[in-house]
């Protein structure tokens, strides 16, 4: 192999520009509260939470093949543990993140038996876990059943400080979690995760540690969704179990990921943004809003099963935050039609479609 040997490309010119774009957007978002109304700051915080939720569900289902309809369990637990920790005297802002770590820790034993289940069984099994956890949390006297409680200790901060702190915490959490996910999915573990999604037996047969890799992804997703739940609690202050352990959270995650483009890193972010806009514009229309969401999801799954970004990626070859690998061949071997031609010495009489 010499100068004419193939080269592995990770990014494109577009993805390098996207990298600069990401930095610019992050800087803009960090400074944005200066220019935004209080209500808008709260809405942006919600957007960051949605992005975290979508990215985590996408990592789990789109990259790892672990479709769960019970991820609200980690959202609820993120909020619940934050309440508990704050009640025990921990600073409420610190409690948000300690809580997420506990959620991650709790997800580990859950993974021991849940990851033995496959496909639909796993999906519904997670929902059962969520429902059971909801009931258990209701038994906590601090929570007072469905009456709920509040993150009272947050009230020591004045409203404006609180709002800005939560905004920046949410922004920083989103960026950190996206960076961790991107790093993981782009590395060789990410390739193993996608291999497990596509064929678990084959993955094992080429040396992939199937269970360990799935567990890593499961725990990371639980941690991320725990962060989201804790942040949501910080903005809402009140904690009612049925609001947090509601399956609607997972329904939103699924919506965002399916519309945005399952299995693409960009898709989840795009889906969260779309969901946010739809909610902002139509959220006040009650039942029609939900009907609209359902209809949109249906249209997408029928007409654009790869979602918005997946379709764009396929049609135009767009790759901005790509985790994939591209082989660039020396021109003598490359065939623009994509048909098979063999660089092997043997034969010209090959007929292959």
């Amino acid at each position: 192999m010499s100068a004419a040997s193939p080269v592995i490309e990770r990014g494109t010119a577009a993805s390098r520009i996207a990298g600069i774009g990401v930095v610019a957007i992050v800087l803009l978002l960090a400074l944005a509260p200066q220019f935004l109304s209080a209500g808008a700051v709260d809405r942006m915080t919600a957007l960051f939470v949605y992005v975290i939720l979508a990215a985590m569900w996408n990592a789990l289902a789109g990259f790892g093949g672990l479709v769960s309809v019970g991820q609200q369990v980690f959202f609820g637990l993120g909020a619940y543990f934050a309440i508990r920790l704050a009640n025990a005297g921990l600073d409420p802002f610190v409690a948000l993140f300690v809580s997420a770590v506990i959620v991650g820790a709790v997800s580990w034993p859950i993974s021991l038996f849940m990851l033995r289940l496959k496909n639909g069984e796993f999906a519904i099994g997670m929902w059962v876990i969520a429902a059971l956890t909801h009931l258990l949390v209701n038994l906590d006297r601090l929570i007072q059943g469905e009456t709920g409680t509040s993150l009272i200790s947050l009230n020591v901060y004045d409203a404006s400080t609180r709002r800005l702190t939560i905004y920046w915490l949410a922004l920083a959490s989103m960026i950190a979690l996206l960076a961790i996910l991107f790093g993981l999915l782009r590395g060789s573990t990410g390739a193993a995760i996608r291999a497990i999604r596509d064929n678990e037996d084959a993955a094992a047969s080429v040396g992939v540690r199937v269970i360990g890799t799935k567990r890593l992804l499961f725990v990371l997703a639980a941690f991320g969704i725990g962060v989201a739940g804790a942040l949501w609690l910080a903005t809402a202050i009140t904690f009612q179990p049925k609001t947090y352990f509601n399956v609607q959270w997972t329904a939103y995650m699924i919506f965002m990921v399916l519309v945005g483009g399952i299995g693409t890193f960009e898709g989840a972010i795009l889906g969260a943004l779309l969901f946010f806009l739809i909610e902002t514009w139509f959220g006040g229309t009650g039942v029609w809003y939900l009907i609209g969401l359902g209809a949109t999801a249906l249209v997408f799954s029928l007409l654009l099963p790869r979602g918005l970004w997946g379709t764009l990626e396929e049609r135009f070859g767009w790759r901005l935050l790509s985790v994939g690998y591209r082989v660039r061949l020396p021109t003598s071997v490359a065939d623009p039609t994509g048909e098979t031609i063999s660089p092997a010495p043997a034969t010209a009489h090959r007929e292959k479609a």
Partner: protein, 246 residues
């Protein structure tokens, strides 16, 4: 048995495999040397693929032990056996459909062979090249035709750097020219010192590589030895043509 378990790279003793009441493998004893090329033939349902699955660790035997490189690997799952150098391909190709051909092979190089990034790139590209797949390296595996999927099976297994390769009907449906290329590829692997176990129905292709032939029927090894002698064995002829009682 030809090879003694002492000098054997892979040996299996007293292997039984039952699925419920169905006995698929019955008292299989098998051993082979490090650089041997062993062909396995037998009628459909003889248990050839099941034997390969048990050897590779896809599922455990109901009874019996398997040793690889002198260690008992009976309890080791496929992942670990692959990392030790015992790698299989699948009769029905099992590509990672949503990943490109290169990514398929890269997974094996980085996890199966345990290589770092740059070495894994090189190994993956080398395997694709050897199997004539460089030109489709960027195609998603689900868009590949059956022939390329079979090649991908081989390329992916190779990228895991096997010392012993278990091949399951990778030659089915090939034209003569394609079969010739495949034989060349396998010979190249042998030159690299990789041991081969190859299940194949197309006997004349198999015999261009195999120096030893095993014939299975109804879950048992009915003949084992020099290929021409095995093909001439009355039991083998009867297994293929039917007739005599077993």
């Amino acid at each position: 048995m030809n090879a003694t378990p002492n000098g054997a790279i892979l040996s299996a003793a007293g292997i039984h495999k039952r699925f419920g009441a169905l006995v698929v493998l019955e008292d299989i004893d098998f051993a082979m040397g490090a650089e041997e090329a062993v062909g396995i033939v037998g009628p459909n349902g003889a248990g050839k693929t099941t034997l390969l699955s048990v050897l590779s660790g896809a599922y455990p035997p109901s009874a019996g032990t398997i040793a690889f490189k002198g260690d008992d690997v009976t309890a080791l799952p496929a992942t670990q056996r692959c990392r030790l150098g015992l790698v299989r391909t699948h009769q029905v190709p099992k590509p990672f459909g949503g990943m490109t051909a290169f990514e398929n092979v890269f997974v094996a190089a980085s996890h199966g062979a345990g290589l770092g990034r740059d070495e894994a790139y090189e190994e993956a590209l080398g395997s694709l090249k050897l199997c004539g797949m460089l030109s489709v390296a960027n195609r998603r595996a689900e868009t590949l035709g059956l022939l390329d999927r079979k090649r991908l099976e081989l390329a992916r297994a190779l990228a895991a750097k096997p010392t012993l390769l278990l091949l399951d009907e990778i030659g089915g449906g090939l034209t003569d020219g394609e079969a010739g290329e495949l034989v060349e590829t396998i010979r190249e692997l042998r030159r690299r010192g990789i041991g081969i176990v190859w299940i194949e129905h197309i006997v004349h292709v198999l015999l261009q590589v195999a120096e030893r032939l095993i014939c299975m029927d109804a879950g048992k090894i009915i003949a084992d030895g020099e290929p021409q002698a095995v093909m001439a064995d009355p039991q083998v002829i009867s297994a293929y043509l039917g007739g005599g009682p077993k």
